[in-house]
């Protein structure tokens, strides 16, 4: 050991001098940790993502160093390479999501499924908006980047990550970190984003409409056949969405068949928890200063907010139409639950209904469009994957 080797002990500071922006990324990671821990904004995701950002931006980038011949890579690189870049983790999240989702409110009142479709309006509007920005000299957004940004409007984190990763594979730019953080941040902010839009688009009389809940029992056979039939139908209609919908329906089948409780519980708990940790760390590890600190990141956050707002508006507007057609039997607010932030969006609708009238309970009516929104977003993702090569 010579004196020159001692210099290696302070190499980190030398690297900081060369890459001072890493301090900004460390601060961003700390802010996400603060939001997750102190404010409880999506803590399950923001804490691993925040930690991933901090670890990825440590001096020398040892943790994200790719493996080279004869030299192993950083562990975050392995996480990304073998779990995220091949779209495995978002699919496993969908498995857990299927096992956690109760489709009974949707099955007992299938009319509200269409609200889940209308709430995908923001996905395609943000897609066009991103393309329009790409026409300016400051932004370099093409179809692939526009698809990654647009899907934020579905308010579905795993689908957003799935599309963004697929687009990177197809030659798109790596904006995974920005779209993932934007998607999860806005999902956490649903109670703040949605109410003003709902109030703007509905009258007080409409918000006061009561929808009596009549329990229509759904047979066990229906609950079991539904996931199988949906996977088959989706496989034919939107084959590119088949991985997402197929594995989600597999998770739901585990839940509903009632004979594999161990598998169902594992998918809901242990597997889901492991996958979320790996997903968060892997997404965070993509957010290096070079990739994240760009003008385009700000544009992605703005477009994501726009997508969320338009999706909410789309659901509410179809809700208003259904309200008019049904002779004011449908409260248009439940359309806002069509964005797939389950069950946050349905809760927002319920809170708004009870604020207007404490005896008005819409939660069960809002859960239908809410879970339909998950299928709608996966279908929209399938469209992007099919049409953009």
């Amino acid at each position: 050991m010579g004196l020159s080797d001692l210099w290696k002990l302070v190499e980190g500071f030398k690297d900081l001098e060369e890459h001072p922006l890493m301090i900004v990324m460390l601060l961003i990671g700390a802010v996400l940790l603060y939001l997750g821990i102190a404010r409880r904004f999506e803590p399950l995701l923001l804490i691993p993502i925040g930690t991933g950002i901090i670890l990825a931006n440590l001096p020398l980038g040892e943790l994200i160093k790719p493996a080279t011949e004869g030299q192993s890579g950083g562990f975050l690189w392995y996480f990304y390479k073998y779990t995220l870049s091949n779209e495995l983790l978002p699919l496993l999240v969908f498995l857990g999501l299927g096992a956690l989702t109760d489709f009974e409110p949707m099955l007992s009142n299938p009319r509200t499924i269409l609200l889940g479709a209308a709430a995908q309006l923001g996905v395609f509007c943000a897609f066009i908006g991103t393309l329009a920005l790409g026409l300016t000299p400051w932004f370099h957004f093409g179809l692939k980047e526009a698809a990654s940004v647009g899907i934020i409007g579905g308010a579905d984190g795993p689908t957003t990550i799935y599309v963004a990763t697929s687009m990177i594979e197809r030659g798109g730019r790596d904006i995974l970190g920005a779209v993932a953080v934007a998607a999860y941040s806005y999902m956490a902010l649903v109670p703040i984003i949605q109410p003003p839009i709902i109030r703007l688009l509905t009258t007080r009389e409409e918000r006061l409409i009561k929808m009596p809940y009549t329990f229509r029992p759904v047979s066990k056979r229906t609950m079991i056949i539904f996931p199988i039939a949906t996977a088959i139908v989706a496989g034919f209609l939107v084959p590119r969405a088949a991985p997402l919908i197929g594995i989600m329906m597999f998770g739901n089948l585990l839940r509903e068949c009632g004979v594999v409780e161990r598998l169902s519980k594992t998918a809901q708990n242990e597997l889901m928890n492991i996958v979320i940790m790996l997903l968060g760390l892997s997404v965070g590890s993509t957010m290096t200063a070079k990739a994240f600190l760009q003008l385009e990141t700000i544009a992605i956050f703005v477009l994501g907010l726009f997508a969320f707002a338009v999706s909410t508006a789309g659901g509410v507007l179809l809700g208003k139409l259904m309200c008019a057609l049904s002779g004011r039997k449908i409260n248009p607010m439940i359309g806002a639950a069509g964005v797939s932030a389950v069950p946050m969006a349905a809760r927002v609708v319920q809170n708004m209904a009870t604020k207007e009238d404490p005896s008005n309970f819409l939660i069960m009516h809002a859960m239908g469009p809410n879970v339909a929104g998950v299928i709608g977003t996966a279908t929209a993702a399938g469209v992007f994957l099919a049409l953009i090569n």
Partner: protein, 166 residues
């Protein structure tokens, strides 16, 4: 840009069509696979006053009442008369030997066998006060009443177990 617009329009249509198909599929499944549960329907049955038929559960209850009455009357050296009337409805009751379990009963052609537990009631001896000659000057012990305190339990009537026996 035009390609983007086209993708958006096609995408929105595909999402609506896919979810509409899903909606109709669920509606069809609901009709085909329902468990035929009718919610909220009320079955109304016409009941002609004065012509109520005696149902099985009624005769079982009558049998229980008849057994209790027969036991009570036997203790007093009497026998139960054949037709017994409860709420102005008459029942033909036949009761077998009360000393052996299970006791056979027949109410309006419905036969029953009544027993308590697997082996029936334990045979109880007639309890009577015993007068023991006490030597003069000895301390008087507790009377026979203290050996048989008043009942602490409840008694059974047709309405079920009720309050403490007075």
């Amino acid at each position: 840009m035009i390609e983007g617009l086209l993708i958006s329009v096609v995408g929105m249509v595909v999402v609506f069509v896919a979810l509409a198909i899903l909606m109709f599929m669920i509606m069809g499944m609901g009709r085909l696979l329902s468990d035929k549960v009718v919610v909220g329907s009320v079955v109304v049955e016409e009941v002609v006053a004065g012509k109520e038929e005696v149902k099985a559960e009624d005769t079982a209850e009558v049998a229980a009442i008849a057994l209790a009455l027969a036991s009570y009357l036997k203790e007093r050296g009497k026998a139960l008369g054949k037709p017994i009337a409860i709420s102005d409805v008459q029942y033909q009751v036949e009761i077998g030997a009360l000393s052996h379990f299970p006791v056979s009963l027949m109410v309006n052609q419905d036969s029953y066998r009544a027993a308590v537990g697997d082996e029936g009631l334990p045979t109880t001896e007639q309890v009577s006060p015993k007068f023991v000659a006490r030597a003069k000057g000895t301390q008087s012990g507790p009377g026979w009443r203290s050996a048989y305190p008043p009942s602490q339990g409840k008694y059974w009537s047709r309405r079920g177990w009720t309050g403490r026996a007075s």
